[in-house]
Amino acid sequence: MSSTAKKKGFGATIWNYLTTVDHKKIAILYLIAGTLFFVIGGIEAMLIRIQLAKPNNDFVSAGLFNEIITMHGTTMIFLAAMPLLFAFMNAVVPLQIGARDVAFPFLNSLGFWLFFWGGVFLNLSWLLGGAPDAGWTSYASLSLASPGHGIDFYAIGLQISGAGTLISGINFIVTIINMRAPGMTFMRMPLMTWTTFVSSALILFAFPPLTVGLFFMIFDRMFGSNFFDHTMGGNTIIWEHLFWIFGHPEVYILVLPAFGIFSEIIPTFARKRLFGYSSMVFATILIGFLGFMVWAHHMFTVGLGATANAIFAVATMAIAVPTGMKVFNWLCTIWGGSIKVTTPMLYALGFIPSFVAGGVTGVMQAAAPLDYQLHDSYFIVAHFHYVIVGGIVLALLAATHFYWPIMFNRMLNETLGKITFVFFFIGFHCTFFVQHFLGLMGMPRRVFTYLPNQGLDTYNLISTVGAFLMAIGVILLVINVIITTIKNKPCGRDPWGDGRTLEWAIEQPVPFYNFRQTPLVRGLDTYWIEKMEGNKEGMSYAEPVTDIHMPNNSFIPFVMVIGLFISGFGALYNQDTDKPWSLAVLIIGLVITFGSMAVRSLKDDLGYHISKEELMNEKGGNK
C-alpha cells in the first residue's frame, strides 16, 4: 500500500504488485511487462535480419521464418508499443490532471492483467506446437489454411489482451473527463493528456471491429463456422476490412501518445510554451477522426474498384495536413526558445526529421496507382518502420529518460543516454532507409530469402548491420537502467529544472495518494506559472487538507484473468478429437472468471480513509 515497499520482504512486495490498484505501480508493471515483450520482439527482429543478411541463407527455415515475422509484428504492436505507452499514460496522466488515481483503479489492474496473460498466452505458442505464421494481419484465406494451433493462439491471445486494452481505454476516457482538478479545463490540459484522451477514444471505437473479427476467426477455426470460408459462402475480404478498420486507427492509437510525449518534452527543453496549443489540440482530434476514414488504403490492390481507391487515396492524403501542422508547431516551439539538448530532447530532435521522412512516404503510398507498385514490397516495410520506430519507439525511449524521475525518483545517466541515442538513431536509419530502395527494386515483403543476382544483396547486408547497431543501443539502455538502480540516488522534484506541468510540481517520491490537497489549476503549464510567480511549493490548492478516500488492493482482477487464460486453452484444444478434456477446461476457466466477477459484484468493498491527522504527520500518511 505504501510507496516505500523496500522495508517489506520480497514476497510481500510481489503480493503488493499482484494486488495493486495504484496507477503508479500499474505503470511500473506495464513498463516491466512491455519491456519484456519488446526484448522478445527485438530478438525476433534480429533473427529476421540475420536470415536476410545474404541471399539463399538458411539460418532459419521457411516455415519458422513466417512464425518469426508474425510474432515480431504482433508482439511489437500489441505487447510492446501499446503497454509501454500505457505505462507512461498511467504514470503521468493522473498526476498531470491533478487526480488521486484513475477513475476505476480496479479496472486499471484488470486491464493490465488481461494484457499480460493474453501476451503470455500468445507467446506460449512457441512452446506448444508452433507460433502463428500468417503475418500479423493474419489474412483469412491463409490463416484458415494454416495447420496446427498457431493461429488459434493468435486469435485467443489477442482477444484476451485486446479486452484489457479496451478496458484501459475506457478507464482513461472517464478519468480525463471526470477527474481533472479544479481549473483544469479541457483547453488547459497538457498535450500528453489530450493525446491520451483522443487515443483512448480511438481504442473505444477501433477495438470492437478487431474483437468481432477475432471471434469470427475463433469460431471458424475452433467451432466449425464459415464466416471466412469462401467455399461455404463466407468471404475472406471481410476479414481484411474488419482487421484494417481496427488496424489503421491502431496506428494513430500508438502515434498520438507519442506526439503527446514529444509535445511535453519539446516545450520543456526549449523553455517555451507549446506553439499553437489550440491548433495542436485540433490537429490531434482531426487525425483521430480521419484515422477512421482511410482503412482501405491498406487494400488498394485487393480490387475494390477505381472509385473506392480514389476516395480512400484522397482521404489518406488529407491526414498529412494536420500532421504537418503538428510538425511546424513543434518547429516554432523551438524557434525563439532556449534549447537544452538533454537525452529526451535529443530523441525529440531525432524524431522530427525521421517522422517527416516516414510521413512523406506515407503520402506517396496514398497515391493509389503508385501504391500498386509499393504495396507489400520492402518500401512499405521501410515506411511503417520509419513511422513506428522513428515516431513511437523514439518517443518511448525519450519518455523512459524523461519520466524516469517521476516513476522512480531517479535520473538515468545522461552521457550513456546520449550514446544510446547515437547507436539507436544511426542504426535505425541504416536499417530502414535502404529498404525503400529494396522495395522499389522489386523485393516483396515477408520473404524468407531472396535469390542472388537480383541486385538486392548489398542493401540487405547494410540493413542487417543497422539492426545490430540498434540492438547495441537497446543493450546500452538496459545497462543504463541497471547502473541507475544500483546507484540508487534520489533526484527529487523537477530534476530537469524546466518542468512545466503538474506532474513535476508534486513532491518526490510521489505519495501513494498523489496530492495531499487537490491543486488549483490557473492556466496552461500550471507549474510554470507558479514557478514564474515565485511559488516555492509549486502549486496552489483548491481545498484544505481533508480525509482521503482510497481503494483497497484486490487480488480479484488477477483471478478473473487466470480464469480466462485457462478457458483459452479449453477453446483452443476443442477442435482436437483426442483431447476430450478440453470442454471441461473451457467451462472451469469460465466458472473461475464469472465466479470472481460475482464475488466482486456481491461483496461490498468500500475502500478506506486516510485521516487528516495521518496526512499531517511527518510520514505524510505512509504507514
Binding site: Y139, A270, M317, W335, I339, T361, Y372
Partner: protein, 361 residues
C-alpha cells in the same frame, strides 16, 4: 556532442547518396527501370510525389537546422526565459494552405490514373470480324506456382507468361487455394489474386525480353501465402506480335509432341505412370489448376520457378520437392512411384523427357 553528430549525419547522407547512385536495381526486376506503359505512368507519379515530398523535407530541415543553430541554450544564455509565444494565426493558415495545395497537385493525377488503370472494358468488347480479340490471360495462382490460360486462343501454360509487346494485355486474376498477389515490378503494379472473386486489370509490355540478362522479366508473388511465398516466382517472356502469333500456333500443336530417343522414351513411360494424373504435357485447352502444365517445359528459364534450368536441378526437384519449396503440393516420389524413390537412371530419363518438351525449338 552535436558537432560529432552532424558529421555523422553528413557521412551517413553521403554514404546513402553513393549507394543510391550505384544502381536502381536490375532492369528485369526493378520498378525504377519501367518497361511498360503502366509502370512508366506509376514511375512518373512516383517522381512527382518524390519531388513534392523532397520539397517538404527540405523546408522542415532548413527551419529545424536554423532553429537548432540559433536557439541553443549555450548561445541564448543559461538564465534567459524566452518569450512565451501562444501561436500565430497567420502561420497556421500558411502551413495549412500550402500543404493542401501541394496535395492537390498530387491528388489530381492520382485520381485520373486510378480510373485509367482500372479501365478494362475493352477485354469484353465485341470486335469486328477478322480482327484479333485483345490478348486476355486468366491467371490462377496456386500454392507456389502460376497458371496462365489464354481464353481467346484456347491454350494454357504455366510458370512462364508469354505476351506480345506493344499492346494492352488483359488479365483475369484469381487464386485457387489461398490469397496471392500478381506482380511484375518492371511492367506495372500488382493486383491481388483473391479466392473469392476475379480481379481484372491490364498491362502493356514495351520491349522484347530476349535482350535481357536471362531473356525474361521477373514476376513475384507479393502476398504472404505460406512457407515458400519467397520462392513463388514466375517469368515473363515478351515477344513481338508476329513471334507471339507463331508461339500460339506452336502451342496449339503441342498436343502432338512425341519423345524422340531412347532415354526420352523411357522418361515418357515413367511420366505416364507417375506424373500424368496431375501434369498435362499438351498446351491445348483450359488448364486443370491441379499442377503446372509442362508443354513448354524445355523452353523455360527455371525449374520450379527458382532453380537454374538444367537436368541436375530437375532431378533434385523431383527427388525431393519439399527440400526445394517447403509446403508445396507436389507429392514426394514415394507417393507416386509405388512407395519407392526414383532411381538415378529413372530421374535421368524423366529429366531428358521433360527437357524435350518444347514449342520453340
Amino acid at each position: 556532442m552535436m558537432k560529432g553528430l552532424k558529421k555523422w549525419r553528413l557521412f551517413a547522407m553521403l554514404t546513402a547518396l553513393i549507394v543510391f547512385l550505384s544502381g536502381c536495381g536490375k532492369n528485369y526486376l526493378s520498378t525504377l527501370s519501367p518497361a511498360g506503359e503502366v509502370a512508366k505512368e506509376q514511375h512518373n507519379l512516383m517522381l512527382l510525389a518524390t519531388a513534392i515530398m523532397t520539397l517538404v523535407i527540405l523546408v522542415v530541415v532548413i527551419i529545424y537546422v536554423l532553429a537548432l543553430v540559433k536557439f541553443r541554450r549555450k548561445r541564448v544564455g543559461e538564465d534567459v526565459i524566452p518569450k512565451q509565444v501562444e501561436g500565430s494565426t497567420k502561420l497556421e493558415i500558411l502551413w495549412t494552405a500550402i500543404p493542401i495545395i501541394l496535395l492537390l497537385i498530387l491528388a489530381v493525377p492520382t485520381v485520373a490514373l486510378t480510373y485509367k488503370l482500372a479501365d478494362t472494358k475493352a477485354m469484353d468488347a465485341k470486335v469486328a470480324d477478322g480482327q484479333n480479340k485483345p490478348v486476355t490471360v486468366n491467371v490462377t495462382a496456386k500454392l507456389y506456382w502460376w497458371q496462365f490460360e489464354y481464353k481467346n486462343e484456347g491454350i494454357v501454360t504455366s510458370q512462364e507468361l508469354v505476351v506480345p509487346t506493344g499492346e494492352k494485355v488483359y488479365f483475369n486474376l484469381t487464386a485457387g487455394d489461398v490469397k496471392h498477389s500478381f506482380w511484375i515490378p518492371a511492367i506495372g503494379g500488382k493486383m491481388d489474386t483473391n479466392v473469392d472473386n476475379v480481379n481484372k486489370f491490364y498491362l502493356t509490355f514495351d520491349k522484347e525480353s530476349k535482350d535481357l540478362e536471362d531473356g525474361v522479366f521477373y514476376g513475384k508473388c507479393a502476398e504472404l501465402c505460406g512457407p515458400s511465398h519467397a520462392l513463388m516466382d514466375f517469368k515473363v517472356k515478351t515477344l513481338s506480335r508476329a513471334d507471339f502469333d507463331n508461339w500460339v500456333k506452336e502451342m496449339k500443336a503441342s498436343d502432338k509432341q512425341v519423345a524422340t530417343g531412347d532415354l526420352e522414351k523411357q522418361g515418357e513411360e515413367i511420366f505416364k505412370t507417375s506424373c500424368v494424373s496431375c501434369h498435362a504435357t499438351s498446351g491445348v485447352g483450359k488448364g486443370t489448376g491441379l499442377a503446372p502444365n509442362l508443354a513448354t517445359f524445355g523452353d523455360r528459364n527455371r525449374v520450379a520457378g527458382v532453380l537454374d534450368h538444367n537436368k541436375e536441378n530437375i532431378k533434385k526437384w523431383i527427388n525431393d520437392p519439399q527440400a526445394v519449396k517447403p509446403g508445396n503440393t507436389m507429392p514426394q516420389p514415394e507417393k507416386i512411384n509405388n512407395g519407392k524413390k526414383f532411381t538415378d537412371q529413372e530421374l535421368d530419363a524423366l529429366a531428358a523427357y521433360l527437357m524435350g518438351l518444347s514449342v520453340e525449338k
